[in-house]
Symmetry: C2
Subunit: 136 residues, 2 copies
């Protein structure tokens, strides 16, 4: 028996094992690790704040608690946005896309959405891109 | 030898094997299948139009051609948005998020972004959600 304590990690919930309504669960197209992408958008300004990941349980909590909960792929645990930072995301609406692999969660973001302190996770992180001309 | 012709499918490009600049490739945190998520947003209205997936080669094409190219997980091939539908996405800007697993591509969308004919892939696809009160 090891004397070391492993960090407590939680695998994503298997489909159909959570309180997520069956008709919603049936529409999800999860990736190989059981997750769907969740785009978080500021409801009034339209800013795209960040992208996170949800399994069925994280989506259930997001739909029912008024606060956004993600599943962390790196830490393998649930995290409710703002619990440590105070930067809470209040849920305004949730939509699931046509093929079931992406959620659009409109929120009211308290403070910075990014753990680096920027308002969004994309601020100041532009790539060099050739703009389209609008002429094919 | 089989008499059947298999559909031509292409695996996502391995990291470092495309013309994507090395400094960009080094920032990508690809999933287990070599892809990152790409959020597509209408540049002026702020509408989130859809979510697609890109490998290094799709991102390279998107950054250099003025048109958005995705990697289709289901068809296992590249697809340049609008080639069959006419619903072209003209690139306005591309940003990579803080941890390298999501792109925000601002575009000028011609016509409907969704293959179902709706303007966005989220239109009319709301889930029942309890809104947050703004009081913790």
């Amino acid at each position: 028996m090891s004397s070391q304590t492993e960090p407590q990690t939680i695998a994503p919930a298997a489909a159909g094992t959570t309180a997520l309504p069956a008709e919603v669960a049936a529409r999800l197209k999860r990736d190989g690790t059981g997750l769907v992408a969740a785009i978080i958008q500021q409801h009034d300004s339209g800013e795209v704040l960040m992208l996170g990941w949800m399994d069925d349980e994280a989506l259930h909590r997001t739909l029912t608690s008024g606060r956004v909960t993600f599943y962390s792929r790196s830490r393998r645990e649930y995290w409710r946005k703002g619990d440590t930072s105070g930067h809470v995301q209040w849920v305004k609406s949730v939509a699931l896309d046509c093929d079931g692999d992406a959620l659009l969660v409109k929120v009211d973001q308290v403070g910075a959405a990014c753990h680096t302190g920027t308002r969004t996770c994309f601020d100041g992180r532009m790539l060099d891109a050739t703009a389209g001309t609008g002429v094919q």
